[in-house]
Subunit: 314 residues, 2 copies
Amino acid sequence: MSSVTSPASVLISEVGPRDGLQSVSRTMPTDAKRRWISALHAAGLREIEVCSFVPARLLPQMADAAEVVAHALTLPGLTVMALVPNLRGAEAALAAGVHKLTIPVSASAAHSLANVRKTREEMVGEVARIVALRNERAPQVKIEAGISTAFGCTLQGLVPEDEVIRLAEQLVAAGVDETGLSDTTGHANPAQVQRLFRRLGTAVGDHAGAAHLHNTRGLGLANCLAAFEVGVSTFDASLGGLGGCPYAPGASGNVVTEDLVFMFEAMGVKTGVDLDKLIAAREPLKAGLPGEPLYGMTPDAGVPKGFAQGAVHG
Amino acid sequence: MSSVTSPASVLISEVGPRDGLQSVSRTMPTDAKRRWISALHAAGLREIEVCSFVPARLLPQMADAAEVVAHALTLPGLTVMALVPNLRGAEAALAAGVHKLTIPVSASAAHSLANVRKTREEMVGEVARIVALRNERAPQVKIEAGISTAFGCTLQGLVPEDEVIRLAEQLVAAGVDETGLSDTTGHANPAQVQRLFRRLGTAVGDHAGAAHLHNTRGLGLANCLAAFEVGVSTFDASLGGLGGCPYAPGASGNVVTEDLVFMFEAMGVKTGVDLDKLIAAREPLKAGLPGEPLYGMTPDAGVPKGFAQGAVHG
């Protein structure tokens, strides 16, 4: 399907400590967050979205964001990422010392207004202000824009692809380093994923960023495979599938890190992640949120007999 | 990844009434089977594996195989398929009037001995005898061999690809019309699926048959996508993911028909299946096996806003 060479290795960007924990009504204690993030790092994950900088009255689960960042910064080789929805959040995140900011920007006009009470154009302006702040205070920090509802929206349904690509171009013009595409509501299908990531690469070149895909209708890994085939090399995923607005019992919202790592490693694509240690990283998550449902099939089924991580099987 | 043109339409071969029902310890009443198969047909499925012809003392769930076939034969346009493990089963299936036989043949030497107490070579001989019987009694009936454990085996681990392909060639030489590949134990990954189906096509040409893929480690749809991309056009799946040796709670063994149809239709690939009616076909299944766990995310999440079946979205 693709004329692009698929990458020989991929970066798995773990979003559980942010996307997962803010989807759960309970708050994981700070010490448990530290232990969990350390276990994720020990498994070989080298980019983790550790928190979001948002008002504690809106998301009390993230009230300890600066403390969590301080711990994550002690882990060697880790890119410490935080979500910021606006300039105020970016100020706090930069003060905490993160390596990378991620800013969600809706491609859907309806979702943008409903979610952040800003038009898309106003959000591009906010992104430009965050870029200016970064340039002034911490020019080494990377900024990613994650285009949410890029594949469809529960409010308006279809989101025109031209609008997604135009928004990506505007964000790159505003100074972000990378712009990724997010299937916020589980609308994406593999053909659409390939079409839109191809167009993104054509439009913004090396500024094309991560695929953030959901498993709402079971297509999470198929959509990741589709993106990989057109050259995408960074994939967001969540340990145990935590977060990502699961609709259905037994259904995870986010792509499950364990299954995604298994898929790539079984294909002979390097992730740098040790699958056994990754599965072990479920324990501090369970300890920090007792009883919380976790998803993923590889942890229950185990790796198949004859599976040697990193080997091409044939 | 592929130089092959993907098909514009696919055939979904529903295996639930056989593969699903024989995995459940309870027996669905015959009337309930009839209602369920009628509902599957009403949804647009045009090939259904309705039963297996095996001794009732081994699989009491299939004791009414001939009655089930008699009903299925009344449904217009339906290819009525039955699994037969040996010549005796084939005699009974041909007497019942099926349109198509499917014969499982293990690629794993260890699995073949453990499962049917025959070597692979002995099974090829049995297949040749079934072909001779078919040629004599019902030459219009099609015969498919399903190569099980083609991607790996829980007993012996890796299964050499050369042995899989040699077995496929032997089966075609023995006279089968189609030879498919089955991921019996959930070992397959997308790269392997593409490699092996490409080799199968090179080796046996138009005799290459269905992809029977499992969701044991969550890769079911990704593996189907991979097979589709190298030109596979028939996919086995099971309504509600029934059967297929699920290992894990919340994990289906077989690929879920509902999610598979959603994936293809969302991609603009015609399945001929009406997704609403397909989801409605879960009701007679539930009525016939009260309390049995069903899988699938599309039935719970619903189709996304803006989804128009058969349309290419973009």
